[in-house]
Amino acid sequence: MSDQNTGSGGAPEERVPAMQRLLDNPFLLLFMGVATPAALYLLWGVMELSQIPLAP
């Protein structure tokens, strides 16, 4: 696959790598930065606590 696309003016545009596109998108980073700890820390932790049986 070619690494270069042709822009509207005919000049070759360098293809931006996927990781670079990720790092250049603050809102995608925001989603990942909130979703990851929400799932791994908050939700997982709360699920474990909710499974503790109540004392009789």
Binding site: P26, Y41, L42, W44, G45, E48, I52
Partner: protein, 576 residues
């Protein structure tokens, strides 16, 4: 001389700018005003919270034992809230506006909302302080239930958090404006990327705070009958510890900024530094779990995954920054002609400039004291020998005070001439201030960690247990450690006072910068400048023997200290 120009009106908001005569940057007047007010209020809370901290340290000094028990817990609560939340977050909001509108050369998004955010933050912070000082809310910074504070304590924190969230979205809005208006090409500068990291962590922090503080407020006014203590702890630490990760990201961004502005230091690799920040975005907030390592209600899988596997990826990010920033400084210094031997670049660095010395001390104290002790505490087994001892505040005084506060102090010496456009007053005091403060904080951290290793409990008014039904004697060395901690706290307080004196006098009574004074005493030396901060680019083919030596010393200290603690653990539970 500063030039005010009217930018082309866009929508219903016009924005006025000046061109900074020192950096050539276009400075949005609204952003500049908001940076000023947030920074000034931050310093007020640092002064107030720092004074409370000194009172706490003098009470924990057994020979002084200054305050009665109720005042000790009251001022400990106020100290925690004022410095761990209000000082750092007001300053961080100033950093966010600087890293977006100023560095990206664009107007600030929704300035009226940014002012609303500032008002809410001030109201919330004052309300929480009033609640604590009234004496009915001595619940510590953590405010664990079932201890109950006055309703306006929780309300103050909620209002402050709402203000912060609005400020964070003004920052994200400014990024959108900068992109739309084409004020930069390609990727944002690394310093702005560090600020994005801080802002993302702030959103998670505030969301966690809202999840737990709103029900706790309703509980305090009687609308909810019960808050589960363990559920509270898990969710509260999603706010309490993550809020300190905002600091880490902001301080690292400042390290890169100061290195670039003073030395012209470019990152060794933009891509690697950004990956290190990505590690922060994904994993740094999971460190919150280390506060729950002795809780029986959550599984070892949850504890170990969050504090070890995931957190180690964030620690990897910190170690990348810890190597990259001194490496960038060495590369820049060698490019500037300091090429003799391994350490000429370090010897001939601008150590008399408080912005540089503060930054370097911040890196060393954060890395060697805060970073290594954080990894040790985050290991589930090792945590057992220091959990809830003074080791914990020893660790976070190295990170939040030695790391973050010292970095914020350092960059203040650049913000005053560049943003407030005032001369720094008392230059000799300013020159010594980072050393005095850094020595005090390093002492506080080391002596508290020493006392904690000997078992001294944190949050305890009297380590002599004078009124306890059952007596207990700590080793004499523990009392020595607490006395030394008191002396170190006096040293840190002196350094803090020097900072407040220099900054407040410079801002309110300092001479205005003039073209003549700028020419005679430029804030940014010829070796540095704003261009490196505002552009994307890595150092080309650096040779860094000095950094290799420094990083090797760090790793040896890290490994030795880690295994010394396993040795301590083996002595707690001898196998026969």
């Amino acid at each position: 001389m500063a030039v005010d120009t009217q930018a082309p009106s866009r929508g219903f908001i016009g924005a006025s700018y000046r061109t900074c005569p020192e950096t050539g940057l276009k400075v949005c007047s609204q952003a500049e005003a908001l940076i000023k007010v947030n920074a000034v209020v931050a310093v007020v809370f640092l002064a107030v919270g720092g004074f409370f901290g000194l009172m706490v340290a003098l009470t924990r000094w057994p020979a002084v034992h200054l305050l009665p028990a109720d005042w000790f817990y009251l001022l400990l609560t106020a100290h925690g809230a004022d410095v761990l939340l209000f000082w750092v977050i007001f300053f961080e909001v100033a950093v966010l506006y600087f890293a977006s509108a100023i560095i990206l050369n664009c107007r600030l998004a929704a300035p009226k909302f940014a002012w609303l955010a500032f008002v809410l933050m001030v109201v919330g912070a004052v309300l929480a302080n009033v609640a604590v000082l009234q004496g009915e809310s001595s619940v510590m910074f953590t405010s664990y239930v079932p201890m109950q504070a006055a309703p306006h304590f929780y309300l103050g924190l909620i209002v402050f958090a709402v203000g912060t969230l609005i400020a964070v979205f003004c920052f994200f809005g400014t990024l959108v404006i900068a992109k739309e208006e084409g004020s930069y090409e390609g990727s944002v500068p690394l310093v702005t990327f560090g600020a994005i990291t801080a802002a993302i962590i702030a959103v998670f922090t505030i969301a966690s705070g809202a999840i737990i503080l709103i029900p706790t407020f309703l509980w305090s006014i009687g609308y909810i009958s019960h808050i589960d203590p363990l559920m509270y702890k898990v969710i509260w630490w999603g706010m309490g510890h993550a809020s300190q990760q905002i600091n880490v990201s902001a301080q690292v961004a400042i390290w890169y900024a100061v290195a670039a502005m003073l030395l012209g230091a470019k990152p060794l690799s933009e891509k690697v530094s950004r990956m290190a920040f990505l590690m922060y975005i994904l994993f740094l907030q999971l460190a919150s779990a280390h506060h729950l390592l002795v809780e029986p209600g959550v599984s070892s899988e949850w504890k170990i995954f969050n504090t070890s596997y995931a957190l180690y990826l964030a620690v990897l990010g910190s170690m990348i920054h810890g190597m990259s920033i001194p490496g960038a400084m060495e590369a820049a210094q060698r490019r500037n002609g300091f090429n003799n031997g391994i350490f000429e670049w370090l010897r001939k660095a601008p150590w008399s400039n408080p912005a540089f010395s503060g930054t370097m001390l911040s890196i060393v104290i954060f890395g060697f004291l805060g970073g290594i002790s954080g990894v040790v505490m985050g290991t589930e087994q090792l945590n057992l020998i220091m959990h809830n001892t003074l080791y914990v505040p020893g660790h976070f005084h190295a990170t939040v005070v030695g790391g973050t506060t010292l970095a914020f102090m350092a960059v203040s010496y650049l913000l005053v001439p560049l943003i407030f456009r005032k001369e720094i007053m008392f230059k000799k005091i300013a020159q010594w201030q980072p050393y005095v403060f850094g020595a005090g904080v390093a002492g506080i951290s080391l002596f508290m960690m020493g006392a904690g290793t000997l078992g001294v409990a944190r949050r305890h008014w009297d380590m002599g247990f004078s009124d306890a039904a059952m007596s207990f004697d700590y080793p004499a060395t523990a009392f020595l450690m607490m006395g030394l901690n008191g002396i170190a706290a006096l040293c840190a307080a002196l350094g803090g006072l020097m900072y407040v004196l220099v900054i407040v006098c410079s801002v309110f009574f300092g001479k205005a910068r003039t073209p003549e004074s700028i020419a005679a005493f430029p804030t940014l030396p010829k070796t540095g400048g704003a261009a490196t901060v505002t552009t994307y680019g890595s150092e080309a083919h650096p040779k860094l023997p000095g950094t290799v030596v420094l990083v090797s010393v760090f790793f040896v200290a890290f490994v030795l200290y880690y295994y010394v603690n396993w040795k301590y653990l083996s002595e707690v539970w001898p196998l026969s």
